[in-house]
Symmetry: none
Subunit: 194 residues, 4 copies
DNA sequence: GATGAATGAGCTTTCATTCAT
DNA sequence: GATGAATGAAAGCTCATTCAT
């Protein structure tokens, strides 16, 4: 019953609770209370606590991917595409603070400690960046010797680390727009063909 | 006695165990066994499980800071300083894989969920980068409009995200040297005054 | 409706499930699935899980009693009656393995832990044996000093313990016929008037 | 620490609690309270709830076997040996009512539902009976055509079923001595060579 | 200082039972 | 009558922490 209202209610509750206390400190009963269902109901929709986290990842990142791709498709200039990606990423973080916190904190842990789990959705997200680089290299805007594999991680890492600032401290020193532009500028300048 | 043999044995054991299973899954008895002391002995040197993690952070990052500062002091060119920082960071990650894993995975969590804790040592580490930028701006090598506060986090985030590759996958596609140089090149190009 | 189709379907399903996993490990949902009804339907026919077990006992043992009595009524020689009882008991065990397992395993438990429950049907079954002894004593075939109350339990106990062999191990060393005859022979010889 | 006081205290507590409520209804916390230890302490001595039951079986049956063998060794007449076995069995049941209840009720269940477990101790106990029969056949007292394998189970089954009377009803109609003698008399008469 | 047996609070998960449809 | 989603009480087990030795 994937389309059920309860499934989503639990996911949204879990985002709130995981953001507040972290995955390990979160109690099933907290999520149940937040979702206004009984503890047992959660197990009608998920196999266990960890399954909630994984489902959350898959579903929420999927949504984000769709949105970013739509935003980027409207552009042809790879430089602008990078800026849009950065902007979109940071905006998403601000709009969905709680989700962003969970992704920031728990996604990495699960990548490491849950060996069986390959976070393909996350990889797909980051690969949007390398796709942009390839485009730029083809059109001669970006340097051919730039490694998209290194670039995509560097660019994502830069945005991710900046997001942490927003999540940890409640008072952002720099505006989202300013930050996104600043970061993408550095990276664009860094791989521009001269 | 801070310099006690046991104190350090426990820290080193904790690094191993935390790297292997993560902080939350790690058992005190595992650390005790790894350190070849009794469970109770740990509580003669640390207040609780979390105190081990914090002590570990403080002490190990302190060591790293000393080393990086020494390496950078030998240079005067801020461009080379950035490259050295990147190189040093990635080399450290490779040499101290287990420590790097713990810092990667647990440092962020603790920043968030342990509100009382200000990770000053970590801030000090990242501030080395902004110090370099300031130097470069003063000497006219780097653009004046570059924001050191944004730059330092972007640069660190890029390196940090690359490190995750090393930690998660056992086969690095790019050499440390190549990667460090590539990343610092992008960033140097990105803030160079033209 | 006691004779309802569903009532019996549930009983038969319960026999299967209880035999497979035991009463305590059996889930209502397992019985429901086996009976091809909804979980809730079971509660239209039975008060609770334990009520299924008790109903099962009463109804199934009643059937057995009718059959044994019919088989014995054809005989007049109390010695042959005993042999027929033994034969009938072991044959029933083999034909209704699952039912036999449930009676073997759960009947005793329920006698003990469900204080309110007097298993009158079971007593009626065992009393068939003492009825035979009385007959034999009246006709002078069996010793007058034999205690029917002790004999009936011993005889039943002997058959019951042998049944366990069939239920636990899948390969019977002795044939049913041989075993029934052997056991009844020992007991007949044991109370024969000389 | 098999010889520890606590190990035995927990076993004895478990006998009491299992006898009172049955294995499945027994709570670990009940056993802990009865043994005057903390819940967690039980897990220092046993792997899980079921491990307590198995340990209980092995250890207590071992004790009984030693005692019966000692009692029987003093005799040479196989007829008397059988009577002694019956007497010893029923006396044991009366003296250790709670243990007897647990063995009666739970030993069979575990034989069936815990496939991996071979109750060798129990088999050893019942084999004492077949050993006696063999002796009697060798010395020409018992019929050669008697099957020790069937006899041992029948004899044990008879005693076992009688024990249930003692356990279920609190008022024994027949004395232990009378019952033991009556049952063994039937069986002795039943296999005597004439 | 060092030990490790003992503690007991705490949490995930199960499942008999209910009840709105 | 029939359904099965929802409930929530209940309990086995873990493990950080303590403290008598």
């Amino acid at each position: 019953m994937r389309t059920s209202d309860k499934h989503n209610k639990i996911i949204q509750a879990a985002i709130k609770v995981f953001a507040r206390t972290g995955f390990f400190n979160a109690r099933i009963s907290d999520i149940a209370k937040e979702a206004q269902v009984a503890d047992g109901t959660i197990y009608l929709y998920f196999n266990n606590k960890y399954d909630i986290l994984l489902s959350l990842f898959e579903e929420e990142i999927s949504k984000i991917i769709v949105q970013v791709k739509q935003a980027i498709e409207k552009e042809t200039d790879p430089r602008k595409m990078l800026t849009i990606f950065a902007l979109h990423h940071l905006k998403m973080v601000e709009k969905n603070q709680e989700l962003a916190e969970v992704l920031q904190m728990e996604l990495r842990q699960s990548n490491k400690f849950m060996k069986e789990y390959r976070n393909t959705k996350f990889i797909e997200y980051v690969d949007i960046i390398s796709y942009i680089i390839h485009k730029g290299q083809e059109s001669g805007v970006f340097r051919k010797d730039a490694q998209p594999g290194i670039f995509k991680r560097s660019f994502f890492g830069a945005l991710d680390e900046m997001s942490r600032l927003w999540i940890l401290t409640t008072d952002p020193h720099y505006s989202i727009d300013e930050t996104a532009r600043h970061i993408s500028d550095i990276f664009i300048e860094g791989i521009l063909k001269r």
